[in-house]
Amino acid sequence: MKLIDKLDEIKKEYSKKLQKSRIMVCCGTGCTSSKSDLLLKNIQDELKKLDIKNVTAEKTGCFGFCAKGPIVVIDPKETFYEQVSPDDAKEIVEAFLKGTEVERLLPKEKDEYVKKWHELNFYNKQSRIALQNCGKINPEKIEEYIAVDGYLAIYKVLQMTPDEVIKQITDSGLRGRGGAGFPTGKKWLFAKNSKSDKKYVCCNADEGDPGAFMDRSILEGDPHSVIEAMMIAGYAIGSNQGYIYVRAEYPIAVKRLSIAIEQAKKLGLLGKKIFDTDFSFNLELRLGAGAFVCGEETALMNSIEGKRGEPRPRPPFPAVKGLFEKPTILNNVETYANVPKIILKGADWFNKIGTKTSKGTKVFALGGNITNVGLVEVPMGVTLKEIVEDIGGGIPKGKRFKAAQTGGPSGGCIPKEHFDTPIDYESLQSIGSMMGSGGLIVMDEDKCMVNLAKFFLEFTVDESCGKCPPCRIGTKRMLEILTRITEGKGKDGDIEKLENLAQNIKNASLCGLGQTAPNPVLSTLKYFRDEYEAHIYEKRCPAGECKSLTQVKIDPEKCKQCGVCARNCPVSAIEGEVRKGPFKINQDKCIKCGVCITKCPFKVISKV
């Protein structure tokens, strides 16, 4: 039987299965760490016990609403359960058989239970392309991917010429989702035009930004889409070998990728003469050992070659001389995940989504001081406000929004005044930030922006490969200055020193890591310079976060002398006796943890 007929058969069989009643349990990293794997087993056991055969329980990829995990969705009704524990299995199965819901597990919005997942505010402003199959299929079954048109795109591509494929990607306007936003079609064209006996297609799955996990979720929830996209890229540029460079810290992703590759090989989708054409393609995994710099393309290639993960100077560019000195393309996971859909639905379809220069959607890992922590995929051009307030559910505890950091340690902060900026590559750059890989960290009024800059600098200092002095020593010196500022030892001239260092590090560093490392400092200086000045000249942290600059004080006038604060202080720093005068905090002992502030029944303790 021809491979395409076989796929057709699988599709027919499994698309029926997909329409049947299925209990989908999220088995992404987040939910698994809350025992969703046990939950799945319990549900399966329960079904077995009751001898129910027309309902299956399946593991699936990330639904994105990680704050509410573990998540269970029951099809076809799309019933959405949140924060489910393994003990809830029996109740879920019983309710399902009765045709009802377990009310206590349903999400609530404005005191109303929401039964279907797409009706949740978190989801209804999203539009899922890259994450399309996450939560819908069992990522460990190739048949389910085939049932949702999987591997049809590569079949279609093999009927086209490589130039036609590249034109379609170019026309779609797809740009790299890993950071710089380089046009994908252009990248492929460069590599196609490089003459060589051997070329490589690489996938950057070395997601390293703190708090970012969209690539992990795609690999865990829909690994075949990445494999298929790499085959398409291979055909387009004339390569028959691919490497996926994935972090060893992503064990579930590694496991599912390995299963997916094996399944694709078994079916004949990877290997020689695919779909009876002359196109052959092999794919291998390479595990990264957790160095952030290996997400930089040339360092990644060094690492695949077994060398130390250090960036190489460019030129030569990878499209000319990349992996093993051969023409190479490298795209990240999310970029690839868009490719099969563009091939199937057409460049025009994709091109209509988004803004003038930024097409399609972008997945963000929403984190920090935000109600709905999780993964969101939105069309390019939505505003920060929409993400934070509508999808993210706003800032918890009634606090005010202060800023959001995009682009992780390479990006910058966006203050409230730019809340309405549409999120696309150019707009973010124009306000001193960047798209980056998609980390979006929201900060409330209690966040000190100097301390934030220090946090990111600590990260880059730790992750610098050490090859060039501006990054190796420069970021270290910047961190030392920031540290002394947050400790109340800042000096006049420190801000200028930071600015000078930042500019020179940007101009002189060898790779993107160093060139962007000063961004968090520059953008916080741009929007929150007054906070730096308050630290240096007034020895005061306006947000009250820097411990050396903050004192916790009890208002002696208002203290009711109840002693609750003293009893709760973890370091016994509060002195006084009940009803014998106001209590007092010994500043030498106080660690500024804030426990007394929250425990005081009369709210008379505060940070000053």
Partner: protein, 588 residues
């Protein structure tokens, strides 16, 4: 004429035409614009690490490292705008902030690339203070001392060790500010694959890698009236020591050197080159014997001590191919403590035997158990490099360049041209070839110059006729080249009968103990060639060109050793080799 495309670009408003593929740095040097560098080493370390060579290219975003950026036709490059210089000054300030600035007490004081740049950029005040990298002083090796507090992580050492020597004893450990250069697993140089060649030392731009010095003991011995302090000088030192005293590269300073050493207080100054002549008598005889018996061929020379360590660490299965003849230094050391001691009636224990060498590996050779003499004494007690000796002479107010000439002492002071050329690649091979036919059937050659084995090529090959039979011979310099030949022997693919292996590129004239030549100077002149020419000149000027003609050597055999490869010669002048383990981690 190369058929490569020529391109023209402008650097600091000056046009320059170069071959396509030339870097901006090389193009700039061509028109005498000296873009500062710290890490760049032509063909060895072209990595763009140090950022001191950054330039501004019109139409290109950000500054680019000129050492790795290819020049393009029509390109407009600037190397000296104010912003660019300011950026480089900041980088330099950063490097200085992470460098142990004990310049006054540093062996590289006034001969340091970082110091030069600090001066060039007029650093009159240090801008950044802060944490220094963790100081890690490794003196486990007999040859090389490693001090990470001075290291600027340019990685010249790493890449010369890896690519030129194929040894890869050191690499970057850790990352970011904690990065340091050292042997894997932090085992210390002694326990690593290091062969002690010192190529890392001569390429280090600062004082992070230095030779291990024992001049303190030497100074004490020179002042000890009970000791007869004798020095021997290696072939290559006479061609380089003048450089340390301002003489042009390639100056032959043999007899001024002898005067200087006597002025410093040595009782006798002997010539290692005579040791080299004896080496030839033994080694050529050994070769003839192996050829006759078709045993352990190809035979490989054994005078370069870095190579011996390399063989013991990397190719222990090939040790039987090495000539058993000791190195010229060890032969002369042995003769000093046996032959000379006997004729003079001196107790060998009262002789302090010093060797002035171009080499750091020799420092490890002298303590080898296999080379100990009767009474468990060393043949050579102290090895001093060319650089160390220059420092000693300067300390004693002796300016070698201004001295009169004098002759080596007898009976170990007369050498042939064959002995002199031991100091350059191909020299040992040529010297052997000059004597083989004589040793076989007393034939004297009309032409003693074998030009095929001379020159800078990594592996040189020649065909020779010995008693009507054709033999292939090879000469290699730099251990990475040696590996190619050795791998062939391992795989039974070698066609050679005799191989000369020199550890250092160029041979001893470019040894790890030799005067330093900046990479900028090296880009302008072929210093190895100039030094080699000095030795070939010494050869040409010699009364005797072949080792077997040396009258002092003849006398030595007549009076003391008997015949080459005699029982006594074997006892005194031959040795053996043993496998050396690396990365042995002891349980603590």
């Amino acid at each position: 004429m190369s058929n490569k495309k020529m391109i023209t670009l402008t650097i600091d408003s000056k046009p320059v035409t170069v071959e396509e593929g030339t870097t901006i740095l090389e193009a700039a040097r061509k028109i005498n614009i000296d873009i500062p560098t710290l890490c760049f080493l032509k063909d060895i370390n072209e990595v763009g690490n140090c950022r001191m060579c950054l330039v501004e290219i019109e139409g290109v975003k950000g500054y680019k490292a000129s050492c790795v950026y290819p020049a393009e036709d029509g390109m407009v490059v600037r190397t000296n705008t104010k912003d660019l210089i300011d950026t480089k000054r900041t980088i330099l300030q950063l490097i200085l902030s992470a460098h142990e600035k004990k310049c006054l007490t540093c062996v590289r004081n006034t001969n340091c690339r970082l110091q030069d740049l600090a001066k060039k950029f007029q650093i009159d005040e240090l801008e950044f203070e802060g944490e220094l990298p963790k100081a890690d002083l490794d003196d486990s090796s007999e040859c090389i001392v490693r001090n990470t507090a001075k290291c600027i992580l340019c990685k010249r050492c790493v890449n010369v060790c890896k690519h030129v020597q194929g040894v890869a004893a050191i690499s970057t450990i850790n990352r970011g500010f904690k990065s340091k250069i050292g042997p894997a697993l932090d085992v210390g140089m002694r326990n690593s694959t290091c062969v002690g060649c010192g190529q890392c030392v001569i390429h280090c731009p600062v004082g992070a890698l230095t030779e291990k010095s024992n001049v303190k003991e030497l100074k004490e011995m020179l002042n000890n009236k009970d000791k007869v302090v004798i020095i021997q000088t290696a072939p290559a030192v006479r061609a380089t020591i003048g450089e340390e005293f301002g003489m042009p590269i390639g100056t032959l300073a043999t007899n001024k050197m002898v005067t200087a050493l006597k002025a410093l207080g040595f009782d006798k100054v002997f010539d290692t080159d005579l040791g080299a002549d004896v080496t030839i008598m033994e080694e050529a005889t050994e070769f003839i014997d192996r050829l006759k018996n078709n045993r352990n061929l190809p035979m490989i020379t054994s005078c370069s001590s870095g190579w011996i360590t390399f063989a013991e660490k990397f190719y222990p299965e090939l040790l039987n191919h090495l000539s058993s003849t000791k190195s010229p230094m060890e032969i002369l050391g042995t003769l000093i403590k046996t032959y000379y001691a006997k004729t003079q009636g001196i107790d060998p224990k009262n002789i302090y035997s010093v060797a002035l060498m171009p080499c750091s590996a020799k420092k490890a050779e002298i303590i080898r158990d296999e080379l100990k003499l009767e009474g468990n004494i060393q043949a050579v007690d102290n090895v001093v490099t060319t650089r160390e000796m220059a420092r000693l002479l300067k300390e004693a107010n002796i300016d070698l360049s201004l001295l009169d000439e004098s002759e080596f002492d007898n009976p170990l002071g007369l050498a042939t041209g064959a002995g002199h050329i031991f100091g350059t690649t191909g020299g040992v091979m040529e010297a052997v070839l000059r004597s083989v036919s004589y040793l076989l059937d007393k034939t004297e050659l009309k032409n003693v110059e074998f030009k095929a084995v001379r020159g800078t090529k990594g592996i040189k090959e020649a065909k020779i006729e010995i008693q009507g039979k054709t033999h292939y011979i090879a000469v290699s310099q730099g251990l990475a080249n040696a590996s190619k030949i050795l791998d062939d022997i391992k795989n039974n693919k070698s066609k050679y009968s005799f191989i000369e292996i020199m550890t250092c590129p160029g041979g001893c004239i470019n040894g790890g103990g030799q005067p330093l030549v900046s990479d900028f100077k090296a880009s302008k002149i072929d210093y190895k060639d100039l030094r080699a020419k000095a030795l070939y000149k010494a050869d040409k000027n010699s009364k005797y060109r072949c080792s077997h003609q040396n009258p002092q050597v003849k006398e030595l055999y007549e009076k003391f050793l008997g015949k080459p490869n005699s029982k006594k010669a074997h006892e005194l002048l031959h040795t053996h080799y043993n496998k050396q383990d690396t990365y042995v981690i002891e349980d603590k």
